[in-house]
């Protein structure tokens, strides 16, 4: 077993651990922290089911962003939808017997890879070309885009320029899932690709990528418009009724 295989196995165990523990603890924090007041941005759905659909629309079709900036919406959809399809395409590395549906989706996943990189490149260009966006950009915002672009480009590089032994890659990841380290091909494109993916997993819970869980917990979006019908009191505010003094 090569040192590289062992190092990458260790890296992915670490990355998975950081990602899961980090995200679970952030989600637990959001869950625990109450929203003491009803602050839905109105007009808002009047039922909880309606509010759940509102959040679902934000997550799937970026409803508010569409209202805000149509061009940015196009770039955001290119990137996120592309990323989603690319992730689905990559499931074949983690499933021994690939189901037919996943086989059928493979070619789409390739186009999605291009869509993702094009979307990311456009998002990066905005950060330099639009003065308002340049003003609010931190170095980490650019680093995050470069990281994602590098992941996408290194993946496309392996697909179209310098393929690696994907059967061995699959064996490596199936092995990791059984806590058995299999040899990873020593292929520069692959090592870069996987190293960057692990880096992305590690920074996820410490970065603005927390918008992914955050959107589900946003009170302006997930609350129903029913304050006159239901009394809403946070646990920490329960003692306030007794403080009225009359």
């Amino acid at each position: 077993m090569s040192a590289i295989s062992i190092a990458y196995a260790a890296l992915f165990y670490l990355a998975a651990l950081v990602l899961v523990v980090g995200l679970v603890s952030k989600i637990a924090q959001y869950w625990r922290t109450p929203a003491p007041l009803k602050i839905a941005t109105t007009p808002a759905p009047m039922t909880r089911t309606g509010a759940a659909f509102r959040v679902a629309r934000e997550v799937t079709i970026f409803e508010s962003l569409f209202k805000g900036d149509k061009l940015l919406w196009v770039f955001a959809v290119l990137f996120h939808a592309g990323l989603l399809l690319v992730l689905v395409r990559h499931l074949r590395y983690f499933i021994a017997d690939v189901p037919t549906l996943l086989v059928l989706i493979q070619p789409i996943g390739i186009y999605a890879g291009f869509a993702m990189v094009i979307g990311l490149a456009a998002l990066l260009a905005r950060r330099f070309l639009i003065p308002r966006i340049r003003y609010i950009t931190n170095p980490s915002d650019i680093a995050m885009l470069l990281l994602l672009i590098a992941i996408g480009v290194s993946g496309l590089f392996m697909k179209f320029v310098h393929p690696t032994d994907i059967l061995a890659v699959k064996a490596f990841f199936l092995g990791l899932m059984r806590f058995s380290i299999q040899p990873l091909p020593v292929h520069p494109g692959l090592l870069i690709h996987l190293g960057l993916v692990a880096a992305l997993m590690i920074v996820f819970p410490f970065s603005k990528l927390l918008h992914a869980p955050g959107v589900f917990f946003s009170p302006t979006r997930n609350q129903a418009d029913d304050p006159r019908e239901r009394r809403h009191v946070a646990p920490w505010a329960a003692g306030y009724d007794a403080k009225r003094g009359f």
């Binding site: 007041l37 009803k38 109105t42 966006i133 931190n138 970065s207 955050g214």
Partner: protein, 501 residues
């Protein structure tokens, strides 16, 4: 004070003003007067900047992060996409980049990152983190008082990040280190001492209402009551204190009285709760909002009323509609057939629909109306029993009262409405420049319909909007009397003595 400034130019070819060129720090000089110890201490805040302000501020921030999910989630979630960056009326009117909602949030987010996130502790400015210094604190004071908490930015944010939540938290922190704002805290002190924002004592209130009774009798020949502290009345009317004497507010109050009179509903105001406004919201204080809101519960209990109805006021209706049940409920002692609280427009709209009142549009002949959706009503509350009722109901009441109604450009009304520029605790002379500049997008949309459709008047349903527009309309070459109360139109059009129910 009153440093010279230029009123921003209008561009009637565009519904929403173009993005201004960035002019960094062009509004850095705009700060409201600091609260004096006599406005701070009665509210439980230190009189002046405390020695350990740094630790106190960070401590308070940590406390708020644990109490408000909004703050915690919004500090983490922003991706700096910029969808909000051209949505704030203060940015459009000033070009100061710190008035972009995301940049305004970042004034606090940068500190959050430094003290509350591993990334900020390790990588500092790479992730936009910075120490809380006195300059930063001053910057908070400056720019969190250039936010009217109108929530327009939150409409367009893909995560619903609401800058109002952040500016409220910032002001709460500033209050706790001794940097309160004079305007808000002086007014809250007055509410506790006297019962209303304007410091109108009980005797003066009773005299004013008596005067209104006499004037209305003279004008209409009908004995329309303006009751104060009447025990056993059906309705407790809670209305902004400006309604008692300011123009055009008071014409709205006369309208409410005529509607109640015509419907045969007995009502009263309370001298102890003679104020709908709740400035506790502007300073982000749960404690103050709770105290101010419970004056209304106490008045309702003392006067043994069956219903609570609010007059025309924007942020007050937000606190009433969205928060009153939380702070001052449950309302099990009131008549369960009516929502608590009700908006006066819900009462009037219902009465128009069921024939309880009749309106003659000719009474307002010559008027062409448009409607300014007040930000807190539009984006933080509702009227009626369907989403968007807050847009439909006032318009239906206006249309029933005047011969012609025209809406302003669609990107400037309903949920996309522009703030008047004076909300959120900014309605003070020491902030005149930002108020005038922030009014520009609304003034632009108004001027469009004035020129294209001959609009003569703009109706508003908020005391702050009415006062703000009265002040800023002349800066844009328009007549201050263009701004009217919705119930002023009702007051003119209502047919008294007919169809009495």
């Amino acid at each position: 004070m009153a440093a010279k400034f230029d009123t921003p130019p209008l561009n009637l070819d565009h519904d929403v003003p173009d993005n201004p060129a960035l002019t960094p720090d062009s509004m850095a000089h705009s700060r409201p007067f600091l609260a004096k110890p006599e406005h701070q201490e009665p509210l439980g805040f230190p009189g002046e900047l405390v020695d350990d302000w740094h630790d106190k501020a960070i401590g308070k921030m940590g406390e708020l992060l644990g109490k408000y999910r909004s703050l915690q989630v919004y500090m983490d979630s922003c991706v700096k996409c910029g969808a909000c960056s051209d949505k704030c009326h203060y940015f459009l009117g000033t070009g100061d980049p710190k008035n972009m909602p995301v940049a305004r949030q970042d004034l606090m987010r940068s500190v959050y990152r430094k003290y509350f996130t591993p990334a900020g502790k390790l990588f500092g400015s790479f992730v936009g983190a910075r120490e809380l210094t006195q300059d930063v604190l001053d910057e908070w004071y400056t720019y969190y008082h250039q936010c009217s908490q109108c929530r327009r930015c939150s409409v367009f944010c893909p995560y619903g990040i609401d800058t109002a939540e952040i500016s409220m938290a910032a002001r709460e922190i500033l209050d706790h280190v001794g940097m309160g704002q004079k305007y808000c805290n002086e007014i809250i002190t007055k509410v506790h001492k006297i019962g209303n924002n304007l410091g109108l004592p009980e005797r003066a209130l009773a005299d004013t209402m008596e005067g209104l009774e006499e004037d209305t009798l003279e004008d209409t020949g009908h004995d329309i009551k303006f009751p104060v502290d009447v025990e056993g009345a059906e309705v407790l009317l809670v209305t902004p204190s400006a309604d008692f004497f300011a123009e055009p507010h008071v014409d709205g109050l006369i309208g409410y009285a005529k509607v109640f009179h015509q419907l045969g509903i007995s009502w009263t105001v309370s001298s102890e709760a003679s104020e709908a406004a709740n400035f506790g919201m502007f300073i982000g204080s749960y404690d103050q909002m709770h105290k101010i809101a419970n004056r209304i519960r106490k008045a309702a209990l003392d006067l043994k009323v069956k219903r609570i109805v609010f007059g025309e006021c924007g942020h007050a209706w937000r606190v009433a509609y969205s928060f009153l049940n939380t702070y001052a409920g449950p309302w099990d002692f009131l008549d369960p057939r009516y929502p608590v609280p009700q908006h006066i427009l819900e009462v009037t709209y219902g009465a128009i629909k069921n024939g309880g009142i009749r309106l003659d549009k000719e009474a307002n002949a010559g008027m062409v109306l448009t409607m300014h959706d007040s930000c807190n009503v539009a984006r933080a509350s509702r009227m009626g029993d369907f989403p968007g009722g807050q847009f439909v109901i006032p318009r239906e009441v206006i249309k029933a009262s005047v011969p012609k109604f025209v809406d302003m450009a669609e990107d400037t009304i309903f949920e996309k409405t522009f703030c008047c520029g004076g909300g959120g605790g900014l309605l003070t002379d020491d902030l005149m420049e930002i108020r005038v500049k922030g009014a520009m997008p609304r003034m632009n949309a108004l001027k469009q319909v004035v020129e294209q459709h001959g609009v003569t008047h703009m109706a508003a349903i908020c005391a702050i909007c009415k006062s703000q527009f009265t002040k800023v309309l002349p800066y844009y070459g328009m007549d201050m009397n263009m701004i009217v109360s919705v119930h002023q139109l009702v007051s003119n059009a209502i047919q008294l003595g007919t169809n009495k129910s």
